[in-house]
C-alpha cells in the first residue's frame, strides 16, 4: 500500500475550519506526553492552562487585555504573509512603537490634556512603521530578503531599548532600575471595562480586524496582495506592482505592531521598561497562521493565544510549570497546524498499488 498526497480539485473549506481544531488536539496530545515526562499532572496543567482563563471574569478580562496586542499585530502581519512578504520583525516594531510613544511622557512628564494618549498611539504607530522602512527599502531596492532584515532590526531594537533605559531615559528616581519614569494620568489609555485593566485599545484592535476584513476579503487592493502571494508572475502579468505590495505589507505590519507597542506602555504597563514585550511579535506570527491568515480567524486565534498566555501563568502558579512550557505548546501548535492545513489543498490517497505496476 502506498500513502501519498493528492491535490484536491478545490480547496476544502471544511478542512480550513477543522485544521486549527485538529492541530489543537494533536498539540494537546504531544504536550500531554511532555507533561507526563516532566512528572506533572496533565489534567491539572490543562485545567490551569485552557479552562481557568475562562472561568472567572477577572481572569477573562486579563485574557482580553493580552488579546489586544496579539490581534493588532497579527492582523498587520497576516496581510503581508498573504502577499508572501514575511515580516518576522514585529517584535522590534512593537518595541519601537513603545519607545516612540514613551517619548511624550518622558520629555513632557508634566503635560496634561486629553490629546496625550492619542498622540502617543499615533507616534508609536509611526515608530513601528519607521522601523519597517529599512527592510522594505532593502527588499525593494536592494533585493534583500525581508525575513533576515526584519529579524536583525528586532535584535537592534532591543539594544536601542536597553540604551535608552540604561542611559538618557532612565528614571533618575528609579533606584538605578532600567526603566523610565511612570507616566502621568493623561498618558494612559482610558479603561474600557470598569474594574479591569482592559482599555480602549481593545476596541482599536477589533476595529482593525474589521478594516482588515474589508480590505483583504472585499477590496481590489487586497485581491492584488493575494495574487502577488499566490502567483508572483501573474501579478506582474496583470501589472500589480510588487514594490507597492512590499512597501504596504511592511508598513502596515510595522504600523500595527507599533500601535500595539504604544498601547502596551500607555496601557497596562504605564512606563517604558525592558520587559514591555513578552514575545508578542513572535507569538503574533503563530496567531496569524492559526487564524488561517483570515481576519475573522485571527480574532478567534488571538483570543485563544491570549488565553494560553494567561493559562500558562496560572499553570506556573498552580502546577509549578515553567513559563517556557507555554512557548513549547505554542511551537507545537504551529507545527501541528502547518501539518493539518496541508489537507485543505491535499487529501491522503491510500492507493493500494496494483499487481504488475509495482510490487
Amino acid at each position: 500500500m502506498t500513502l501519498r498526497l493528492v491535490r484536491r480539485e478545490k480547496a476544502s473549506t471544511r478542512m480550513a475550519v477543522l485544521a486549527p481544531l485538529l492541530a489543537l488536539l494533536a498539540a494537546m496530545v504531544l504536550n500531554l506526553l511532555l507533561f507526563l515526562a516532566m512528572g506533572k499532572d496533565p489534567a491539572a496543567v490543562f485545567h490551569a492552562m485552557l479552562l481557568e482563563p475562562f472561568s472567572s471574569w477577572a481572569g477573562f478580562s486579563e485574557v482580553l487585555l493580552k488579546m489586544g496586542p496579539l490581534l493588532l499585530i497579527a492582523q498587520g502581519l497576516a496581510i503581508g504573509f498573504r502577499a508572501k512578504v514575511f515580516n518576522i520583525g514585529a517584535e522590534g516594531q512593537f518595541i519601537l512603537g513603545a519607545i516612540f510613544a514613551s517619548a511624550i511622557p518622558v520629555y513632557f512628564p508634566q503635560a496634561t490634556g486629553a490629546w496625550i494618549w492619542p498622540a502617543m498611539l499615533v507616534l508609536g504607530a509611526l515608530g513601528g512603521a519607521l522601523w519597517a522602512v529599512v527592510p522594505a527599502f532593502w527588499r525593494v531596492r536592494l533585493n534583500a530578503n525581508e525575513i533576515l532584515v526584519t529579524l536583525m532590526m528586532s535584535l537592534i531594537a532591543i539594544q536601542v531599548l536597553n540604551y535608552l533605559l540604561l542611559g538618557p531615559w532612565k528614571d533618575p528616581m528609579g533606584f538605578n532600575f532600567p526603566q523610565s519614569v511612570m507616566f502621568q494620568y493623561d498618558a494612559m489609555i482610558p479603561i474600557l471595562l470598569p474594574g479591569t485593566r482592559v482599555n480602549v485599545s481593545l476596541l482599536i484592535a477589533l476595529f482593525s480586524a474589521l478594516l482588515a476584513w474589508a480590505y483583504m476579503q472585499r477590496s481590489f487592493g487586497g485581491y492584488q496582495f493575494l495574487v502577488g502571494g499566490l502567483a508572483p508572475k501573474a501579478a506582474t502579468y496583470a501589472g500589480f506592482s510588487e514594490a507597492r505590495a512590499i512597501w504596504l505589507s511592511l508598513l502596515i505590519g510595522g504600523f500595527a505592531a507599533g500601535l500595539a507597542g504604544a498601547a502596551e506602555v500607555a496601557g497596562p504597563i504605564g512606563q517604558l521598561q525592558r520587559s514591555i514585550s513578552t514575545g508578542y511579535g513572535y507569538a503574533a506570527i503563530i496567531v496569524a497562521y492559526l487564524g488561517g491568515l483570515h481576519p475573522v480567524g485571527i480574532v478567534a486565534s488571538s483570543l485563544f493565544m491570549a488565553a494560553l498566555y494567561i493559562g500558562g501563568d496560572n499553570a506556573m502558579v498552580s502546577a509549578d510549570l515553567p513559563v517556557a512550557a507555554v512557548r513549547v505548546f505554542q511551537g507545537t501548535l504551529l507545527v501541528c497546524y502547518l501539518a493539518a492545513v496541508t489537507f485543505v489543498r491535499f487529501r491522503l490517497d491510500f492507493g493500494a498499488s496494483v499487481e504488475g505496476g509495482r510490487v
Binding site: 530578503n145 525575513i147 503563530i286
Partner: protein, 303 residues
C-alpha cells in the same frame, strides 16, 4: 595582548558557531530547501550539550547528543516542508519557535550555570609567532571545523554526491525524471543541516562561552542563514564570511575593554548592523545571485 592579536587569536573560535551552522544550511539550501529554524535548532543543541557536559558526560558525548537533537528537530521541519509540503518559511519559523521553547524549558533549571570548556591545541612553531601566533592556538573543535569546511568544499567540487545535491536543488522535476529520489535526498540534507546546527549550538554553550543562559544563541542562527547568502552558496566565501562575523563580534569586546566612548549597545548591535549592510550589498547584485543561486530554493516539490 593588543586588540589586533586578541581578535586574531579569538576570531576562529568566535566564527565556529556561525561556520558550522552555515555549512549545514549550505547543504540544505543547495538541495533546494530553506530551513529558517536554525536559531531554534542551535538553541536545542546548545542546551542538551550543556547538560551532558554539566553532568560529567564529557564533550564528545555532548556534541554527539547535540547533533542527534539537532537532527531530530530538523526532521520535524523536514516532515512539514517535504512530507506534507507546507510553506517552507512558515515551517522553518515554527520549528525555530519550537526549538527555542524547548531549549528554555529543558534548560530551565540550569540557568546561569557554567562548565569547563576545552583545552587548546597549538601548532608547534607557528604558535610562537608574534601577533598572529594566537591564530594557531585553538581547541580541537575549531580544527575539526576547518576540516569540515574543506570536506564540504571538496564534496561540492569533486564528488558525485555534491553533483546530485546541486541537481536536486536546481531542477527537482528533472532529477526525479532521471531517477533520483528527490524527497529522500532532501530529507538527508535537512538531517545533516540539523546535525550541524546542533553542533554549532553545542560549541557555543560548552566551549566558546561555557555557560547556559536562555536566549544565548542571540541571533547567531539567523546570521548563519545570512552567511549562506553572503557566500552566494559557495563554501569558501561562507568560510570567510564566518571569519568576518567572528572578528566583528570580538571587535565589540575589544572596544568595550579598551574603553572606547561608544555605547555598549551599539557595539552589541554591530553584528546585526553589519549583516543588514552586507546583505544589501550582496543581494543588490541580482546577476551574482542568479548565477550562483539555487533555482528551486524554498519551492515545495511533490511528485
Amino acid at each position: 595582548m593588543s586588540g589586533m592579536s586578541f581578535i586574531l587569536a579569538g576570531m576562529l573560535a568566535a566564527a565556529t558557531p556561525f561556520l558550522l551552522a552555515a555549512l549545514g544550511e549550505l547543504v540544505v539550501e543547495r538541495a533546494g530547501v530553506l530551513n529558517l529554524g536554525l536559531e531554534g535548532i542551535m538553541a536545542l543543541g546548545a542546551v542538551v550539550a550543556f547538560i551532558v557536559v554539566y553532568h560529567g558526560g564529557g564533550h564528545p558525548a555532548a556534541f554527539a547528543v547535540a547533533a542527534l537533537a539537532g537532527c531530530a528537530l530538523s526532521l520535524v521541519f523536514g516532515f512539514l516542508a517535504l512530507g506534507v509540503r507546507a510553506n517552507q518559511v512558515a515551517a522553518g519559523l515554527a520549528v525555530g519557535i519550537l526549538g527555542q521553547g524547548l531549549s528554555s524549558l529543558i534548560g530551565n533549571s540550569y540557568e546561569s550555570l557554567t562548565v569547563t570548556g576545552l583545552a587548546k591545541w597549538a601548532v608547534p612553531g607557528l604558535a610562537d609567532l608574534p601577533v598572529v601566533g594566537g591564530l594557531f592556538v585553538q581547541d580541537i573543535v575549531v580544527w575539526l571545523s576547518l576540516l569540515a569546511t574543506a570536506a564540504i568544499w571538496g564534496m561540492f567540487r569533486f564528488s558525485k554526491l555534491g553533483l546530485i545535491l546541486r541537481a536536486v536543488g536546481e531542477n527537482p522535476q528533472a532529477a526525479r525524471a532521471i531517477g533520483y529520489r528527490v524527497i529522500a535526498i532532501r530529507y538527508g540534507a535537512v538531517a545533516f543541516g540539523g546535525a550541524m546546527a546542533g553542533l554549532a549550538g553545542a560549541y557555543a554553550s560548552t566551549v566558546y562561552t561555557p555557560l547556559w543562559a536562555d536566549g544565548m544563541i542571540a541571533g547567531r542562527g539567523w546570521i548563519a542563514l545570512a552567511l549562506v547568502v553572503f557566500g552566494t552558496w559557495l563554501t569558501g566565501r561562507i568560510f570567510f564570511g564566518a571569519l568576518l562575523f567572528g572578528a566583528v563580534s570580538l571587535a565589540s569586546l575589544v572596544a568595550q575593554t579598551e574603553g572606547w566612548a561608544v555605547p555598549s549597545q551599539l557595539l552589541s548591535s554591530l553584528p546585526y548592523i553589519v549583516t543588514i549592510i552586507v546583505l544589501g550589498i550582496i543581494t543588490s547584485n541580482k546577476r551574482l545571485l542568479k548565477v550562483n543561486g539555487v533555482a528551486s530554493l524554498g519551492e515545495p516539490f511533490g511528485p
